[in-house]
């Protein structure tokens, strides 16, 4: 499987609210990320917009429905449509989540948590091997936010991710907000999580907002909070060149607001690296 070279930059999700901004001018981002499934269609305006934006900027395809942890295997129709889209768009890379979304009978359309067991790791690795083989490219997988753990868990999530990457050659998309959310919900130290991640396998970082509470919920509907910015600075001091992105999927503000937040990521990265490289 072809390696994915480190690539540095700062980007945003391409959302319908901002189509006009991206089409009509030069938005100060290095790339955009889109939800793959929204464009896995035969034609229409969204796909045309994506192709127009792709002519200007690199694109990352980020999926939510591969269900890489499904004990029932992968959905060939989904994979086929994803491959068609990837071949058409020529993205920087294709990513999805470490989770499962369905059984062979039903689909939850949600990112559900996996038991962190040796057995589940084997299933995930087999599915990743098949997906990467089918797509003809190495993929990235993102650490999910989660709201429960299983009594049968045998290892922490960071160990699961490290072993998964080692065995399959896949790369990691490190969602710093998800680390914070899961750390709050499950009581582990976020610093332990970062220390257990193989930094040389990380190619992308996600930042997002969440909803605090007795259970912290990953809602993507608010600015990045200070605790996540602090964790981001720690993460960036460990990582090399990575693509950094701010996710906002609800209560989407005007584009300048997101660009201001992205500027903070650039400054924080510069400070973490002790250079002006990212500025």
């Amino acid at each position: 499987m072809n390696a994915i070279a480190p690539w540095g930059g700062f980007g945003l999700g391409l959302r319908r609210d901002h189509y006009h901004d991206f089409l009509s001018g030069n938005v100060a981002v290095d790339f955009v990320e889109v939800i793959s499934e929204n464009f896995m269609v035969d034609g229409g305006r969204p796909l045309r917009v994506l192709e127009q934006v792709r002519a200007k900027l690199p694109v990352i395809l980020h999926g939510v429905s591969m269900s890489i942890g499904s004990a029932h295997g992968l959905d060939r129709e989904h994979l086929t449509k994803l491959k068609t889209l990837a071949d058409r768009i020529e993205p920087l890379w294709v990513s999805d989540h470490l989770c499962w979304t369905r059984t062979s009978a039903h689909n939850s359309h949600d990112l559900l948590p996996l038991p962190l067991t040796r057995g589940a790791l084997g299933v995930v690795c087999d599915n990743i091997d098949r997906a990467q083989e089918f797509l003809g490219r190495a993929m990235l997988f993102e650490n999910p936010s989660s709201y429960l753990t299983f009594p049968e868990d045998e290892m922490p999530e960071w160990e699961f991710l490290a072993e998964m990457s080692l065995r399959t050659g896949c790369y990691l998309l490190l969602d710093v907000n998800n680390i914070h959310v899961s750390a709050c919900n499950h009581g582990f130290e976020a610093a332990d999580y970062l220390a257990g991640i193989p930094a040389d396998r990380v190619r992308q970082v996600h930042l997002a907002g969440h909803t605090p509470g007795e259970i912290v919920i990953d809602t993507h509907d608010a600015p990045v909070c200070d605790a996540v910015w602090d964790l981001y600075a720690k993460a960036m001091s460990m990582l090399g060149d990575v693509a950094v992105m701010i996710e906002r999927d609800d209560a989407i503000p005007p584009l300048p607001e997101l660009l201001t937040e992205l500027a903070r990521a650039r400054i924080s990265t510069s400070a973490a690296l002790g250079t002006e490289k990212a500025a």
Partner: protein, 190 residues
């Protein structure tokens, strides 16, 4: 069946139905976590149905629509990878639940495929006007004067009105049990 497959089948059964007992030994933290997943599942899918069946929701009112959507998700839980298919057979669900008001199913039928998001896509491909004379809804592909790529004509659309759910005896408990048990091998898995 592997331990993971059993766990996932059990988890999904709990997700689909509050009445399914949670696994033995789960503490209150895990119970609270499951409640988050249950809420997210229902909210996401009911929102998707509302987006696709916007006119139906306007016709019957929010409360009745939510109850009908929740019923539909139990009797027709999603199977496909795309959330757009969640609305399949929703018109039939409406025909059953709003048996006293055939207009509801008729409006739902006019919207069920393609979904609202697919409408955006299809209409940009210069699909011919879909008509919709019976329901009073008409999708037109030609750009309107404001430059928007598509528009919805709703000359015949009615304002929201109260609609009572049919009080016929519900088969939901039986369906719930069947859903919790069923797991069949698909032919399209790799």
């Amino acid at each position: 069946m592997s331990a993971l497959a059993l766990r996932q089948q059990e988890f999904l059964a709990c997700l689909l139905d509050d009445a399914t007992p949670l696994p033995a030994g789960w503490d209150t933290r895990r119970v609270a976590g499951m409640a988050v997943y249950r809420n997210a599942y229902r909210t996401r899918l009911i929102d998707a149905l509302r987006e696709t069946f916007e006119r139906t929701a306007q016709l019957v009112g929010e409360d009745a629509f939510r109850r009908a959507a929740a019923h539909h998700l139990i009797t027709n839980p999603p199977t496909g990878w795309t959330i757009d298919l969640t609305g399949e057979r929703f018109a039939e669900t409406c025909a059953e639940l709003f048996a006293h008001d055939p207009d509801v199913a008729e409006v739902a039928c006019s919207a069920r495929r393609p979904s609202r998001r697919r409408w955006n896509a299809c209409l940009d491909q210069d699909m011919p006007c879909s008509g919709g004379k019976k329901s009073g809804l008409c999708l037109c592909s030609s750009p309107n004067k404001t430059g928007a790529p598509w528009r919805v004509c709703s000359a015949g659309a009615r304002s929201a009105k109260c609609a009572r759910l049919s009080r016929k005896r519900s088969a939901l408990p039986k369906l719930r049990r069947a859903l919790a048990r069923c797991c069949w091998a698909g032919s399209n898995w790799v």
